[in-house]
């Protein structure tokens, strides 16, 4: 079992052109993601969720602190941590299928095999017939799903998802939530999911982490088990009606609101 760790990590950006001045965006973040965990990160817009994910992915270097996998400091992005981007970041010169097959191509998998696997993944995210489409011919939600399929194709140890379901209608979203949950439990891929939906966080995650802004810091790290309940066949309505669910939902809402009040003060 692998663990992705952020230890006392902080991150500062320079203030505009004045590179001698910096603004602290993340402060003292410590977070461990084991490969059997599903962590959801929620927090207000601008609280540093994307920055946190960028650190875990290796796109940003922390100003202080360590980011490591199994104790070894990461040296930038790597095949063990696949990312689904907030802005899809699909390659316009490849069609939808080839975008999904891209991680397979990197591993030298043969063309026919690539095609099969990519089409399979596309079908799983509900895009059965979109393989030959150009990226600019896809709708916003379709692009997000291609991005998810592409990250899964790379078969990573950790999956880092930045609001991957943000542009989807309720039904498609619910289906993809189920799908992600299944991928996670089947393949033992540790997942770090950034979402703005408290409900989504609760239904998928084994732990919900709350980030408060200015500077971004972890104000709560709460275990949850609704995802496992869902997987074990419990109905959504049943789960949502349970007192634990209601309690946690209210608690998390309160945490984010509290932080907003403090903000206003």
């Amino acid at each position: 079992m692998s663990v992705l760790s952020l230890q006392s990590v902080s991150l500062a950006f320079p203030v505009d052109r004045d590179i001698s001045q910096t603004r602290l965006v993340l402060d003292g973040i410590t977070l461990h993601l084991a490969s059997d965990e599903f962590i959801a990160v929620i927090g207000r817009s601008g609280s540093g969720k994307t920055s946190l994910l960028n650190l875990a992915a290796g796109f940003l270097k922390p100003t202080s602190g360590r980011v490591s996998v199994d104790g070894v400091d990461i040296a930038g992005p790597g095949a063990d941590r696949a990312v689904v981007f907030q802005d899809d970041a699909l390659y316009p010169w490849l069609n939808a299928r080839d975008n999904v097959a891209f991680p397979l191509k990197l591993r030298g998998i043969a063309k026919g095999e690539r095609r099969l696997r990519a089409d399979d993944l596309l079908a799983k995210v509900g895009l059965d017939n979109a393989g030959a489409k150009n990226i600019w011919e896809l709708s916003g939600g379709m692009r997000q799903r291609v991005g998810i399929a592409r990250a899964l194709a790379s078969d990573p140890r950790f999956l880092l998802l930045d609001e991957p379901l943000g542009a989807l209608d309720a039904l498609t979203r619910a289906r993809l939530q189920q799908f992600l949950l299944k991928v996670w439990s089947d393949s033992k891929t540790g997942a770090l999911l950034i979402t703005h939906s408290i409900e989504e966080a609760m239904l998928l995650a084994t732990r919900v982490v709350v980030l408060a802004p200015n500077p971004g810091r972890i104000v709560a790290d709460i275990p949850a088990s609704f995802g496992r309940q869902l997987l074990s066949g419990k109905s959504l309505q049943e789960i949502k009606d349970s007192p634990e669910y209601r309690r946690l939902h209210d608690g998390l809402t309160g945490l984010i609101h509290a932080d907003a009040q403090e903000d206003a003060a």
Binding site: A57, G58, F59, G76, P77, G78, A79, R81, A82, V83, F85, D87, A89, Y91, P92, W93, F102, P103, K105, L106, R107, N134, I135, W136, R150, A151, A153, S154, P156, L160
Partner: protein, 279 residues
């Protein structure tokens, strides 16, 4: 930004037409271009008929046409037009091939690696402004008077635009594209080949088009040295004896070939990088 089917071209006059959504690439610019060319030729004819410019320096279109025919059939300075053209085309393409083979990797190195940039930058910046007429003697001394020296002169003119455009193209590759590839385990080489290179291709194509123009305009200088054939050689020989009709004929042939190559380049662009219009 190009006129696409069904899309109101953002800056074209916007009128909703009955056939708006129908297939078709929008009205072309060819008719307007043909009119423009006709106007220019008409103005030229008038200028020579009314003797605005002495025929010694601006022979009428008809005389130039005759000269083209004559060179094509009887030749000038010992070779026919086809032979001159072929000789020059060989040099241009050899130089183009060399510039692409050297320029694109150099541009990629400058755009992607600190060490590459550190080493190549001063060299490129030094080569860029060199006047061919100044370094011609040095080229002769170093590589003699054979084809190699002519191709080198043309290449030296073609390299900088290709290198600069490649480097600029690399810089325009979105960081997320590179990050994505690396998070899927791409090696540095794979990032280069599969992400940075494709991102840079529209820019490289623009650079290549600029380079082709630069190459043609260096042709006369390149063929000043010990050529016995070539359009530049032909033009230069004619110019020395004030045979202006041949000079203009040569210029027109060069322009015509360059024009055809440009059309080819645009077709390639439309065919191979359709996504460039959709960024």
């Amino acid at each position: 930004m190009t006129i696409e089917v069904g899309i109101i071209a953002p800056t074209a006059p916007v009128e909703i037409q009955p056939d708006a959504g129908k297939p078709g690439r929008g009205r072309g610019t060819l008719p307007i271009s043909l009119v423009t060319i006709a106007v220019i030729i008409a103005a030229w004819s008038l200028a020579s008929v009314y003797g605005v410019v002495s025929p010694l320096f601006l022979p009428s279109p008809l005389i130039v046409l005759k000269a083209i025919y004559n060179v094509a059939v009887n030749g000038f300075v010992d070779s026919t037009l086809a032979q001159h053209t072929f000789a020059s085309l060989l040099r241009i393409f050899a130089a183009l091939a060399a510039s692409i083979v050297i320029g694109i990797p150099a541009g990629l190195a400058i755009g992607t690696s600190r060490i590459g940039k550190g080493i190549l930058d001063p060299i490129v910046e030094f080569l860029r402004p060199l006047p061919p007429l100044a370094y011609l003697p040095l080229i002769i001394i170093w590589i003699g008077i054979g084809e190699a020296s002519k191709i080198t002169v043309i290449s030296l003119a073609m390299l900088p635009p290709i290198i600069l455009s490649t480097a600029a193209g690399v810089k325009s590759a979105p960081a997320d594209f590179v990050n994505a590839a690396r998070s899927f385990g791409a090696s540095r080489l794979q990032v280069l080949l599969y992400v940075i290179l494709p991102s840079a291709i529209p820019s490289i194509l623009t650079g290549t088009r600029i380079a082709l123009g630069a190459g043609w305009s260096t042709l006369v200088a390149a063929e000043l040295v010990a050529a016995s054939r070539g359009l530049g050689f032909m033009i230069q020989s004619a110019a020395q004896f004030l045979v202006t009709d041949i000079v203009i004929a040569g210029i027109i042939v060069i322009a015509a070939i360059a024009f055809l190559l440009e059309i080819l380049a645009r077709l390639l662009e439309r065919w191979f990088v359709p996504w460039a219009a959709h960024r």
